[in-house]
Point group: D2
Chain length 383, copies 4
């Protein structure tokens, strides 16, 4: 019976790992120890912990660790604080393996704590390329990890080239794709977004199609987040179509992004925009599947949208370097370019499914691997 500790720290990483959590919890030879921390505990980032409890998971520990300020200093300090406390959590839970997700600062805190405590680390989603601080963090986590559950063939190759033993690298696909299966099979919009999620702003009629926007600040472009979000705001106002806009994540720059949105709303009072704070990931997938185009820089545009064939306009550098399917048009932070790209996507309509990020069994594979592969902490460069 192996104890598998998974640290969930944000809404998007919860979505991304959920099927793995279910598979671990259901596996007869695994015990799930779920730690909920960081922005996953905070109301203003969507109160993820409530969804986790609603999904029926037991929570082994909760750790508040996000410093206010959303700037570069506080990101570093939040990492440190998380590291201090996760060490205590691991010391009390004594897991056999720790799972850490993607490339956030909590991902790094988790990997460092487990590494120093001689607990094997399994990393989900290594080997990808994006630029910005995430790039540094993701590869640093790879070097701290003992098992690598990667999402694409290119990612697998990169992890191995970085010197990881190839028998520790597993091409599971991304568990976010697992969640699309249901929507792919029954694609209808089965709920009224306004009724179910509230939100603020106008409530344009969604009957004739709508756009969805999700745009996060980019940490290394600190100071530009406001200008960047404004270009997108102007573009969707100019397009004039019903648009559902999602609030940004906690990250250096999120205050700027939120400030830009608030000021724009006050000043322009756009009639075609509605704003949501959060949504379950399944509902979000269903929403974009029924929408005409996903706009912004969310990784959902690159991953889930590939498998679902959703037209995407990806803005700016945040997803730079990530493998993408033909469903994505890349543009800069430029109002006119965004408008033009969205129009091209509206004309094109849906794309065929593309399995570059997996075909829906990533969670199952991870649970099986966590139950069966040898767990070790010792490793060396392969060259």
């Amino acid at each position: 019976m192996r104890k598998v500790c998974v640290v969930v720290t944000a809404r998007p990483s919860y979505s991304r790992i959920k099927t793995a959590l279910q598979a671990i919890a259901a596996h007869p030879e695994l015990e799930l120890q779920l730690v909920v921390a960081a922005s996953a505990l905070l109301d203003r980032y969507g109160n993820t912990v409530a969804y986790i409890e609603k999904d029926g998971f037991d929570i082994a520990a909760r750790v508040y660790m996000v410093l206010e300020g959303e700037n570069l200093v506080t990101s570093a300090k939040s990492t440190g604080l998380g590291l201090v406390e996760l060490a205590t959590v691991f010391d009390n839970l004594r897991p056999d393996v720790v799972v850490t997700i993607a490339d956030r600062y909590e991902t790094l805190a988790t990997a460092v704590a487990a590494s120093y405590m001689n607990i094997p680390v399994a990393h989900v989603q290594g080997g990808e390329i994006t630029g910005s601080i995430d790039e540094k963090v993701r590869h640093a986590v790879t070097k701290l990890s003992n098992l690598h559950f990667v999402a694409s063939a290119q990612a697998a190759e990169r992890v191995i080239r970085m010197g990881e033993p190839s028998d520790t690298v597993f091409l599971t696909g991304c568990p976010s794709i697992d969640l699309t299966l249901d929507v792919a099979e029954n694609p209808g919009l089965t709920f009224d977004p306004y009724a179910k999620y509230g939100g603020v702003g106008s409530r344009p009629d969604l009957g004739d199609g709508y756009l969805v926007v999700m745009q996060h600040p980019v940490t290394t472009e600190h100071g530009l987040a406001r200008q960047h979000v404004e270009e997108t705001l102007w573009a969707v106002r100019d397009l004039g179509l019903p648009t559902l806009w999602f609030w940004p994540n906690v990250d250096a720059g999120a205050d700027e992004t939120a400030g830009g949105i608030r000021a724009f709303r006050e000043r322009e009072r756009p009639l075609n925009l509605h704003f949501f704070k959060n949504m379950t990931s399944t509902d979000f997938l269903r929403l974009i599947t029924n929408g005409r185009c996903l706009i912004g820089n969310s990784s959902v545009g690159i991953r889930e949208s590939a498998y679902l064939g959703i037209p995407v306009v990806n803005i700016g550098s945040r997803q730079q370097g990530r493998e993408r399917g033909g469903n994505v048009i890349d543009v800069g932070h430029d109002r006119a370019a965004i408008v033009a790209a969205v129009r091209r996507q509206l004309q094109n309509g849906r794309y065929p499914p593309n399995p570059i990020y997996g075909s829906g069994n990533a969670g199952q594979q991870m649970a099986h691997l966590l139950a069966t592969v040898p767990l070790t902490i010792e490793k060396r460069l392969t060259y």
Copy 2:
């Protein structure tokens, strides 16, 4: 005028970076911001801060960050605490580049703090192979760093193979070699170790030659440190030659090592052993240059001893994977094997100098590079 912040956290890393500090402080286009932290502030690890002040450096900030316990949990927590506080230090000092040394937990805390704060990181001594947690940490720091000052050609090659742009990798050699120049030119034992450094235990006559031992615990072999040090203690007792033994570093396991030494002394009261808590690095080099053999697992046996041609018996896994010259005989933690290897070295005597870790100008090169190379925080895998 670039502000270069160097974080010194332990006696050995101070020795290793000292010539670089001097070169930075003397460089007309650089301002040195020296932060002294962790065990470098603690009496029981040799009160490094006193040597730093005696060497004439100004200290920009002091940060206590080592948790008591010397176990796996506290290593992780110390890293986190260091990260929290170094972020504040960097926020107040606002350096243009941060220099981090080798592969300790404070090295990682420094690199993470600077990375999140968008400060370029220069890493000294990446690309080496040793095994144990140091291995994970060293390569993770490489992935967080923007400039790589490596000690050997093999190390340079490995850093590049891990995906770092080759124009950011500089083969400076190890600054520890810089410190050997003086001893290499005037090799005499110019001081009486007992008179100058006190210490405890017998004071055997050093006139007819002596052995030097420095043995640290290995973090991934936690629980074995006591047994390991006992094998060496028995070996040097059996050899019966005058032996000068140095106290271990702060690290998970140091309490066990120290406990093993204390118990052995109480029980066996060995007449040929004297124990030192610490020594300036120059005096230590002079001491081993005039000794007949260096025993243990210190990196000095691998690096400085290569250039100085000192016979070395390297015990156990701590230096595994590090390039070494012909002056090193490797043995396991086995009393008989240690005795045999030391006897072979005594017979062989001194070796010719070997420049694999540089030839004495590493500090100068680093200062020059820090003053002149482009400083950037953005990077991507080269493949």
Copy 3:
């Protein structure tokens, strides 16, 4: 030359200590070491640090220490983080005395850090009674402090009764009164609040008089903050007079308060309310001096308003137990009661000045005392 370290952590405590800072900085035998920390560094609490710099003070260190969440757990953790970091700050600054203000968690962190470091602590505003967690903290800080600069005669008596030696208790008055001198002498509204401070919401005409509201959450009434703020919102909507409303402080519950205000605005779109995020303390005093009534639970209603003779409706328990002049009417969190009390104040108009909290030279007295009284860390109960 004594080094006096003052830790400023929030907009209101900056206002409250500003004249003391000026007097310390100007004193020939004192050196001011100003540390800016906690919400004083955060944009969403009014960016106090910008005002501090504009006022010409040098900042010796900045420390981010507020955890996100604004709940009970994060208040405790912010205190702990502040304590960790302020210890490092004091270790680097080596002050002769540390000044801590009032009863916030940072006040306690400051007092604990200094106490353990054997640095004498001067406490401003001890001996008052308010209830809630502030009550516990304030008296705990008294027990950690060596000098007591109290604001009223009753406060002085209480500090002495708690066992503090009477020769360490000084009735300086509150430095917040110092700032009212200027307004008391030239009471005109010399600026246009909308033009100078922006803010959001309607911009009712202020020509015929206006109300001012400042209402903070009460930590021990956690869970009720939203309901409490709603009663006040309904009351001022019912009154129908032009009203200027100020955003709450960082504290457990602030998110609830802010959420209540946001929802009310969305739903009711009140035409007589304008919302400000912050204002310089001088401008705020000028604003309320020219207003018809100050409503809420701010300490300004109790202190500065006493000296300025401003009609005040004080709501709820936050100021309970604080000495007050005849200018204050106390009411519960009840819409009708608030309306009635405001109407009584409107009828009454301005009150005569009352010096219970000092007469305007508190800052000067504190500087003089810090320069001349014996500094000691040892103390015992007087009974």
Copy 4:
């Protein structure tokens, strides 16, 4: 069913609270949540956690929180770190009341964390007078606490005079007295201290009587700890009687004390001294009950020894202000004075029992009170 969280952080506080822990665990309406933290987890302070487990208690959480350095800065930082982590622990355990013991920095961290989290705090051993930082901390904890379990009538009176409501102050006596009952009834030395506890140094024959020494550093006399311990070392060497000496607690100055002892042993090789690192509290009581005199500054000399009638020579300021029975002779840090006082006590022999610190049912009383008194967090000064 009330959940009672007790935070145990050191060997002496465990001894002092043990009977209360047993009574809480046995009480049908209480659930014990035992948190073990700080030096109670550390080998070099006697590995208290092992005794706790051996005594059959379940441990709800472990928290490492002691920074290395044993100086003023690290005491402050350990307090802060403890506060951060205890908040997380309380957030996960959700106790109805938290019990904090005496006047250590962890006591304060515990009280602050619980206070901010609106958890009622019960304080054991408030109202005593000792001087030094403990004095500040003890009374600050009183001001943060809602229930006061005091050890003596004078202490009860002082807590009430400090403004605590008299119906929250309970004269339970000190639970340390509870542990003496067994020894008081069967006073024989039922074990061989050398055989059971090892230790280092000579093993003088105990058959004709022996002295026991326990001397801790005093935090406000930092820098003098070494000189102070040396006076006692010389005194017991001069007395020439078999002497059993106990190692100091973790505290600022402990390194100095330990260093003084080590150097003295190396230099003087005293034949009548044996050194123990730790002992169960029951065995320690049995040991001093069978000894001829207890020397040093341990609180055991003041409390337990009063009830047991043991002759005590109390050295220096550490117990200053604490009520004491006729069994105590107070002396300064002076070799000759210590010798003279011990000789007087040897002549006098045992004293009659004195119940000033209770008569052995403190633990039972505390459990009963915790189960039955109203729990509240709100309080105000009574004047």
